[in-house]
């Protein structure tokens, strides 16, 4: 059983997943940020690999990725940073990125190296389902990495069922059809989350996109096992140079 699966076995409600960008705010802050997240109550960490063309991300996460790239972050450097990760980080850690840098590193080599460093799962939103089934899925499985797919309000029930079969770990429910960091009226989303909940999927559900504070986190938790916060946390880091302090303050506000 993977670390992610163990987490959801122990905790079915109010699971908090926080997104952070590798190499942000400084090149070597990756582990420090994750330690602060863990210390202040994050159940799960989604670590973003910066990319020059992050299609699914809004301005805040794009900008953090741009800074990380300017700081010199690469997959090679990230993997070297991750070698020490499991000495202090005990929560599950998922890498989120785009497929192009992973293909350049070598998909199998990437899976092998990140799994060896203690990474638990991957979110690669531009890997198509068919290519996952025919090519990449066998590789992630070989290295014991969970693979997390996204579903949106526009995803058909048939496709959600198929995604549920292919996913391991959890399913990432995008709360509206949008890039990250967009404010949306949460009520519009409730109908869709209700529908997802009623489908009784095999995988746990985490809601992402538009979750930014205690109120939106709590609403999401009414329908799903938990939620993912990204842009709002990155903004908190932008506004306060002290990673520990910024993280503590941010998570206290969400979890109080």
């Amino acid at each position: 059983m993977s670390r992610i699966q163990q987490l959801f076995k122990q905790k079915q409600n109010n699971v908090l997943n926080i997104y952070c960008t590798a190499g942000y705010p400084t090149l070597n802050s990756t582990i420090e940020v994750m330690e602060a997240l863990q210390a202040n109550g994050a159940d799960l960490i989604e670590l973003g690999i910066p990319y020059s063309d992050p299609l699914a991300d809004g301005p805040v996460i794009q900008e953090s990725g741009g800074v990380a790239l300017q700081n010199g972050m690469t997959i090679k450097i990230l993997i070297s940073q991750l070698q020490q990760m499991r000495k202090t980080i005990h929560v599950p850690v998922i890498l989120m990125g785009y497929v192009n840098p992973v293909l350049q590193y070598g998909f199998e080599k990437f899976c092998k190296d990140v799994a060896a460093a203690g990474i638990d799962g991957l979110i690669l939103p531009d890997v198509p389902m068919r290519e996952f089934e025919t090519e990449y899925g066998a590789i992630t499985k070989k290295y014991g990495l969970d693979f997390i797919f996204l579903v949106t309000p526009e995803t058909s029930e048939e496709r959600i069922r198929k995604i549920d079969k292919l996913s391991t770990g959890f399913i990432y429910a995008v709360s509206s059809s949008s890039t990250t960091g967009k404010d949306k009226n949460f009520n519009d989303v409730e109908v869709y989350l209700e529908r997802l909940k009623a489908m009784n999927l095999d995988n746990p559900l985490l809601v992402g996109f538009g979750i930014k504070d205690k109120a939106t986190f709590q609403s999401a938790c009414n329908y799903a096992n938990g939620a993912i916060i990204g842009s709002a946390y990155i903004k908190a880091l932008q506004q306060n140079n002290d990673v520990k302090q910024a993280t503590k303050k941010f998570l206290e506000e969400v979890l109080q």
Binding site: Y51, S52, D53, P54, L55, A56, G58, P59, Q62, G66, L69, T74, I75, K76, Y98, V99, N100, P101, V102, L103, Q104, Y105, P125, D126, V127, P128, R130, E131, F149, L150, V151, T152, E154, T155, R159, V174, S177, S178, T179, K182
Partner: protein
């Protein structure tokens, strides 16, 4: 010749349309986040049905004839032929309404968007040619139009920005990343993610997720459809020895090659922009410098760092200044079906002045790259050559004036 045809024989049927998953050989597909899936799936399900519907074809052909001014002439360039020791024909896409081949595709896609029930049109543009062609058909069809354009390109291409605005389009500056075409494309895709129901994205080249490369190639295939019968009228044969086109993303090349893709006796020559020179770090010659990768929703050749970050290309011609290439062209390159050349900024400028002085035609800088390709082929008096003159040079006058001022 026999040898080449035999080798290519194994790829027969792989050029004119991708497989059902959108692949030309190893290239293509639909590498998109789930948020785009419904839009792209709808398009994939509908595009062929709509495009080959009789009513659609009639509307499309009528507009191409009466609005765009097709068929565009196939002109025997006698003095250019003499200079290059062969028989050269120019396919005059520069004479189309709005001054380039881009409008063939925007007419097709706006008709398609209407049939899909969309009300809002978005597009990306680099130099502004595709943006103008999109704004034009949106004015014609009374549809809302947003054109994403890199902040840097907005500064560099003021006349086209003004044309788009006069046509009623909103020009949205792309301020992310390198603030050029690549980023304008990212912003357009993000807009589409945020507006999945009412919006159609008119991509301007044979790039993007399946079915865009195939759809755009089909709309542009009118170019080679006409060349075949025009050439037959003029020479008695539909088949030239060479067909030459410039390639950035590759839409004019796809249209010019299309009805010759499976005619292996016809050599297809694609000319990329070498910029300052292929090895200078200031180039846009994607087949020479790119590696297989994923950009803007499809797998193709992509100019990128060792770490897989997409790099900013360079060309004097904004229309060729793109770090990728359509998956069809990547397949033509990989299989050897296409001959890929490159021309530097200087070679393109020289070719532009050569054509202007020999034939009285001022070409777009993009098309000048195709003309420059002539110097790299060993042509004989027996050879018939068709070059796609994809656009006119009005938009490039500022660059040409700088050259004349020395």
């Amino acid at each position: 010749m026999i040898n080449r045809t035999t080798i290519l024989g194994q790829y027969k049927g792989t050029f004119q349309q991708p497989d059902i998953f959108g692949y030309y050989g190893h290239f293509g597909g639909a590498y998109i986040p789930e948020m785009l899936h419904p839009n792209v799936e709808e398009l994939k399900e509908q595009y062929l049905k709509i495009m080959y519907d009789e009513g659609f074809q009639t509307a499309f052909r009528d507009l191409l004839k009466d609005y765009v001014g097709r068929p565009s002439p196939l002109y025997h360039a006698k003095r250019l032929s003499e200079k290059h020791n062969s028989t050269i024909f120019l396919k005059r896409e520069d004479l189309n309404h709005t001054g380039a081949h881009k409008i063939n595709n925007t007419i097709g896609q706006i008709l398609l968007a209407r049939r899909l029930g969309k009300h809002r049109i978005i597009a990306e543009t680099g130099a502004g040619q595709h943006g103008v062609a999109t704004a034009t058909v949106c004015a014609l069809m009374n549809m809302q139009c947003l054109v994403y354009m890199g902040e840097k390109d907005i500064e560099r291409q003021a006349p086209n920005v003004a044309r788009m605005k006069m046509l009623g389009a909103t020009v949205v500056p792309a301020t992310s990343g390198s603030k050029t075409l690549k980023d304008a494309t990212n912003e357009a895709i993000r807009d589409w993610i945020n507006n999945p129901v009412d919006t159609h994205y008119i991509i301007g080249s044979v790039v993007g997720p399946h079915p865009y490369p195939d759809m755009v190639a089909r709309f542009q295939s009118i170019i080679s459809e006409e060349i075949r019968w025009q050439l037959k009228e003029k020479t008695g044969s539909e088949l030239p020895d060479y067909v030459i086109a410039c390639v950035g993303g590759g839409s004019n090349a796809a249209g010019t090659f299309y009805h010759y893709l499976e005619e292996f006796s016809v050599k297809l020559v694609a000319v990329e922009a070498a910029g300052h020179g292929v090895k200078t770090g200031m180039s846009a010659a994607t087949t020479q410098l790119g590696k297989p990768g994923v950009l803007h929703g499809s797998k193709s050749l992509v100019m990128q760092t060792e770490d897989g970050q997409v790099v900013e290309p360079h060309s004097i011609s904004a229309g060729l200044d793109y770090p990728g290439i359509g998956p069809l062209h990547a397949h033509l390159y990989e299989t050897g079906r296409g001959i890929f050349l490159s021309a530097t900024d200087k070679e393109a400028l020289d070719a532009a002045f050569e054509l202007t002085r020999l034939e009285g035609i001022i070409p777009a800088l993009e098309s000048a790259h195709a003309i420059a390709g002539l110097n790299q082929l060993k042509l004989t008096p027996k050879d018939t050559v068709v070059i796609c003159l994809s656009g006119r040079g009005d938009k490039d006058m500022a660059t040409y004036m700088k050259v004349m001022e020395g």
